[in-house]
């Protein structure tokens, strides 16, 4: 049995240890905010935080999670998260919205580690998140705006 923490709550899994975390969260825990896009860690739609760092949950097997702490978009609760989600809404970043949980998770992780990212920092951190609606232009602006609002609060 694999035991770990999901959004602050203890969870366990007795099934296939090779099953990716994404399907545990979506199908077993019924938390559907995290999305499936490619299944091979190339689009970022499934991004969650593992001990605070962004990971692609579609390619993270359950077997590696014992004792770890996982956060999905439903469990976001931090100043950078609020700043990112506020900026996302203020600039109306979303279009179809399907990739945006992953975009938000990557952006929150970036801002948590780097409160004042440059354009190239943003490119590096967000390059793994594909948006076919190409909302990239606004994603960049929203990350800068969130960084500015966090700096003002500090």
């Amino acid at each position: 049995m694999i035991e770990f923490t999901l959004n602050g709550k203890k969870v366990s899994w007795k099934g296939d240890p090779n099953m990716p975390l994404l399907w545990f969260v979506r199908d077993q825990q019924n938390l559907t905010g995290t999305k499936f896009g490619c299944g091979v860690a190339l689009c970022g739609a499934c991004t969650m935080h593992l001990n605070g760092s962004p990971i692609r949950s579609c390619s993270t097997p359950m077997s590696v999670l014992a004792g770890m702490s996982v956060t999905s978009i439903e469990g976001l609760d931090s100043a950078p998260a609020k700043a990112i989600q506020d900026a996302w809404q203020a600039l109306d970043v979303v279009q179809c919205g399907y990739c945006q949980s992953g975009q938000v998770m990557s952006a929150v992780a970036l801002l948590s580690q780097n409160p004042k990212p440059s354009d190239s920092d943003i490119d590096a951190a967000m390059q793994g998140n594909v948006c076919r609606c190409a909302t990239y232009h606004r994603i960049r602006a929203a990350i800068h705006q969130a960084a500015d609002s966090l700096a003002k609060e500090a």
Binding site: D16, I73, D92, C96, C99, A134
Partner: protein, 743 residues
């Protein structure tokens, strides 16, 4: 998509062998009765009232009564106003835009506005540009809904005013409405919710009084997207998020070549995978049904299938290119012929020639195709994000034996589409229905495609080959323009074939045959090769390749004539003021012709699609190692009245990104009929580091609004190519052109 004329429902009915007893008229009669009943009940049962559009009413004495009462706007006692959205929102923002139209005529406060997707019911929710079909595509959602929803909002407003006038004992003419409040000079005021029940007893006006556009207070302002909060927090529901009691997951093993069938199947090992419930052989492949998606995919890997490809398409891309080029040497179907192009080319003192190659493209929306089906004895309930619910109803009817109106469709947000979810044979919806029908589990079925299923599963933007010749006379005038196109038809063999009026499918030639430049001798011909690869409309359809080919070739001609690309275009656009308008605006905002930094240049393109006009100026820098960067794009759009300007800007940004993605890296190729790409490691979507800075300018207009979902896409490829052309000294004629220029 380009459906503009009315479609023939008989055509779909015949194609799908629908029971002829089920016709539109029958459906309309029965639902008219229920609609009138609904209004009465709705008005008296304490939930407020509802009104619909009056555009199809004729007049108030029409004996059938208000035909569409109650189906577009609901005002509830809690003061909420709900707009019923008859179109799919796949990111283009119609939930915001259509809601804004109603709010405007109603003088509602934006905070009280709500929305919901309409059910599948073409008798009430048909696309007014498509006749008896409900559907979303061809950038028509706003354009066809504009008057319908204005009328609905204005009617509801008049009913609220009438109710207030009676309650207060004052003339209706003395009552004003503003930001969701109904007011009288005496100081009396009421909310919509206060008046909802009384208003529901008022007679709906036959011809509601509409605002003059100068009175608009919401339209044209930067309203926030109504779906931003739920899409930013993960709360928005898509098809993949549907959960039904007892639901099972299904995946499909599709044939490796288009048209192949199952020769033999061994499912024993698949059935041994924990969680796998059943393996079902269907006409579209072999389905594995399991407790959850992961188990189903494990089961699929354990299937042993021999495929029979004797009737499949087995040609390779190289072979197809050879055949396309050979076809281009033969006379084609003539889509347009002005003057005498052969004579003009014969007498020209200078000629310019270019050939272009465009690959198959996958739509690759972020949410791979999916559909949930719950099949019951007398009903089939479906959850999906589809652009063509009426077609889906007919297809599922055929699969299940139910009547089309027994197929209930719950429309969900779609995680992108770009045309992929508008399928004339309802491929993925049909597939889900087939599995549900053939399965012995009797469980709701949740069909989910993987990314590989999506990339390999067909429905591509067709390959296209273009060959151009232009003639310039001794006075340096462009006198002749000949375009030959070779590309598969999208419409032929579908229920929409009846839309083809000329010798060739206009989807092949659109953007080429509609070239706006005044050239006295102009001819556009096309061939429709028969290939067994299923093709589909891909964001802006035929314009994707025609805009690139015509605008890049135009610059080549301008160069041969020693003319400035903007000036020369404007000189030939005298009869096309809206093309000229966006071109001038983009050129001015981009400071066209200014001195550029070393190894940097500007390129321009202008193109009309779906009745909207877009010009784009791209600025690029070419590095010494041959790589380049698209630094900035300045875009000007004329789409008539701009209802939600920020959504329009977002669609231009997204359209530019989507077009740029195809230009830089997207390509589907075939080897012996098998698609060579499978996921984002060999099919390359645009990423954030490749996204240019974008500036969008909207032309102020009083014309009726036109679409914005697609028109931003066509001009970006040629604008970038034309900019690079100046630096590399060679036209770019083979797509995609990648991230490195050969110099």
């Amino acid at each position: 998509m380009i459906f503009r004329p009315s479609l023939d429902p008989e055509n779909v009915a015949q194609t799908h062998q629908t029971n002829p007893q089920i016709d539109a008229a029958q459906g309309q009669d029965s639902s008219n009765i229920s609609r009138r009943t609904l209004l009465k009940v709705t008005a008296l049962s304490g939930v407020g009232f509802a009104v619909g559009p009056f555009s199809s009413l004729g007049n108030a004495s029409n004996s059938t009564g208000p035909a569409e009462i109650g189906h577009f706007v609901r005002i509830a006692n809690d003061n909420s106003v709900t707009v019923v959205i008859k179109h799919l929102d796949k990111g283009q923002g119609v939930t915001t835009g259509l809601t804004a139209i109603v709010a405007e005529e109603l003088d509602a406060d934006w905070s009280q506005m709500r929305w919901e997707f309409a059910p599948a019911d073409a008798t009430r929710y048909n696309n007014l540009f498509w006749g008896p079909y409900q559907g979303t595509g061809g950038s028509t959602a706003t354009a066809n809904s504009w008057m319908q929803l204005r009328n609905a909002g204005a009617a509801a407003r008049q009913m609220l005013v009438a109710a207030a006038a009676k309650t207060w004992g004052v003339p209706a003419a003395e009552i004003t409405v503003s930001k969701g409040k109904v007011n009288h000079d005496s100081g009396k005021t009421a909310s919509f919710g206060d008046l909802a029940e009384l208003a529901g007893m008022e007679q709906a006006p036959a011809e509601p009084k509409l605002k003059d556009p100068s009175q608009f207070t919401l339209i044209g302002t930067n309203l926030p997207r109504i779906d931003s909060p739920e899409k930013t927090t993960g709360r928005a529901k898509y098809t993949i998020d549907i959960r039904r009691p007892g639901m099972l997951a299904a995946v499909m093993a599709h044939p490796p070549t288009f048209g192949a069938t199952v020769k033999s199947l061994d499912s024993s090992q698949a059935l041994a995978v924990p969680g796998v419930k059943e393996v079902v052989q269907t006409p579209r492949g072999v389905a594995v049904i399991a407790d959850n998606y992961w188990a189903a995919t494990q089961g699929r890997q354990a299937l042993k299938i021999d495929w029979d490809d004797s009737k499949a398409e087995t040609r390779s891309s190289d072979t197809l290119w050879q055949e396309y080029k050979a076809l281009a040497a033969q006379p084609g179907g003539v889509a347009r012929s002005d003057g005498n192009v052969e004579e003009a080319l014969k007498t020209a003192t200078k000629t310019v020639e270019l050939e272009f190659e465009f690959p198959y493209l996958s739509h690759a929306p972020m949410e791979p195709m999916n559909c949930v089906v719950e099949l019951r004895a007398n009903e089939c309930e479906i959850w999906t994000g589809s652009q063509l619910p009426t077609v889906d109803q007919h297809v599922v009817s055929k699969v299940t034996g139910l009547q089309p109106q027994q197929v209930k469709i719950n429309t969900q947000f779609a995680g992108g589409s770009f045309g992929r979810r508008a399928v004339p044979d309802s491929d993925y919806v049909m597939e889900a229905a087939l599995i549900a029908k053939l399965s012995k589990t009797n469980a709701p079925i949740n069909l989910q495609w993987s990314r590989e299923d999506d990339i390999k599963g067909g429905r591509y933007r067709p390959m296209a080959y273009h060959k151009f010749r232009a003639g310039i006379d001794d006075a340096n005038n462009l006198t002749g323009w000949h375009q030959m196109i070779v590309s598969q038809s999208i419409l032929r063999g579908t229920p929409f074939e009846g839309l083809i009026t000329g010798p060739v499918d206009m989807v092949v030639t659109e953007g080429g045959a509609t070239l706006p430049y005044h050239i006295p001798n102009l001819k556009v011909e096309a061939h429709e090769p028969k290939v067994g690869v299923p093709v589909l409309w891909w964001r802006s359809v035929g314009h994707t390749h025609n805009a690139y080919a015509t605008e890049v070739f135009f610059d080549e001609v301008a160069l041969a004539m020693g003319k400035d690309p903007v000036e020369f275009r404007l000189s030939l656009l005298k009869d096309h003021p809206r093309h000229a308008g966006v071109l001038k605006l983009a050129a001015e905002k981009a400071n066209w012709g200014r001195k550029m930094p070393p190894n940097s240049s500007q390129g321009v393109a202008v193109h009309e699609s779906f009745n909207s006009y877009v010009a784009e100026v791209a600025e690029v820098t070419l590095n010494e190692n041959g790589t380049y960067k698209v630094n900035k794009v300045v875009c000007a759009v004329d789409c008539g009245i701009a209802i939600t300007p920020d959504v329009i800007k977002a669609q231009m940004e997204g359209g530019i990104g989507y077009g740029l993605s195809a230009t830089l890296g997207e390509k589907i190729t075939l080897k012996n009929g098998q698609v060579e790409q499978s996921n984002f490691y060999d099919y390359f979507p645009l990423r954030i580091n490749q996204m240019p800075d974008i500036e969008v300018h909207i032309v102020k207009s009083n014309a009726a609004p036109t679409g914005v979902g697609e028109p931003g896409t066509p001009p970006i490829g040629p604008a970038v190519a034309n900019a690079l052309r100046k630096l590399t000294k060679k036209p770019i004629t083979v797509l995609p052109f990648g991230e490195v220029m050969k110099t």
